[in-house]
Symmetry: C2
Subunit: 234 residues, 2 copies
Amino acid sequence: MNVLIVHAHNEPGSFTAAMKNLAVVVLSEQGHEVKVSDLYAQRFNPVASAADFGCRANDEYLVYALEQRHNLKNGTLAEDIQAELEKIQWADLIIFSFPIYWFGMPAILKGWIDRVFVSGLCYGGRRIYDRGGLKGKQAMLSFTVGGQSHMFGKDAVHGEIKTLLRPIHQGVLAYVGLEVLPPFIAYHVPYISETDRWTYLNQYCEHMVTLDQREPLAFPSLDDFDATLRPLRR
Amino acid sequence: MNVLIVHAHNEPGSFTAAMKNLAVVVLSEQGHEVKVSDLYAQRFNPVASAADFGCRANDEYLVYALEQRHNLKNGTLAEDIQAELEKIQWADLIIFSFPIYWFGMPAILKGWIDRVFVSGLCYGGRRIYDRGGLKGKQAMLSFTVGGQSHMFGKDAVHGEIKTLLRPIHQGVLAYVGLEVLPPFIAYHVPYISETDRWTYLNQYCEHMVTLDQREPLAFPSLDDFDATLRPLRR
């Protein structure tokens, strides 16, 4: 497999970075090809703007998704976007490696999605979900979080983690056709012992060598919806 | 009331911007004081990094939240963060004005949260939810979305909008103690007629003059959890 790890942490010595480094080693050992987009190291620009386009379908009024399609066709997307797009097209599996910020991705990673998952290639019109542009590839979240595992769940203070991940799992990854593998989650990372960190690294290693045994998450199929995306009655 | 509108759109002539401009006029007419943080106009930097700190509790290893607390105490947070914090402290109501990108906020707005909702002031330890640092203030999302309203709901293709908003409503706004008003949502905006746009602006105007009649959304109370944030059995 070709594996792209998109990594976003502002401390190169962080536990999240250790997990990313471990993933590179373990996946390479298994014979996979691995590339890393280290967004902080690349000083990746996360702000979607007119500067992303070398030419414009409409010079006066910016509709970001329309200009994505126009510039994709003309090969005039910003160079950093094109470089990331090439990695996506090369990859069979994309791993997102990050610390949870505010129950979501750090802005630098959210902006990678905003700018790189371009309309016209990754999605567009009814080319979403199981007809999405990245169909045939897989994705997986791999993240650290400050809270403890008992703070997430049905009656827990923050609610179910799968609900909190829904906008990313469904609204980003499944939306563009990626098959979504169950996430790897390391809880309470800033506060746990060295021993518990090693346990997480061991579990992550195990997770990495058994990726092919993981059941992908379930998402809508456009077969169940009509041309206006209304549910078909059967 | 003092109202802060945090606005994030890369096209100054957008419908989202028209909604923001309308909000300024209507709220001012009603005698409220209004300030706008226009993140694209300000060229706001959304990337949380070591550059946000004038001094460091730990020079060698960056733990972002710890340095937020340290720099807050010393008055050495980056100037742009301090300026936004002053607006937050001034505000009784914060309105977030943005187009949905990938079922969430555009990165420039997510990064405003990442950098400005500083640990030690907005939250910290058990100062979350109804004990959060911004308790006593209100917040409201006001956004445009490309999808149509029938694409959201119990059996709809994208699922329930309230589930998709949960990480923002609960994980950001309620988390810091803000009372969350129901959102104002304009669907299918890039594709609707001029007439439908006027209808939305009329509805938004009505929404703005009846804010005090809206029932805030419900979130966890720490009264129902013990000191380790486990649910109390009653």
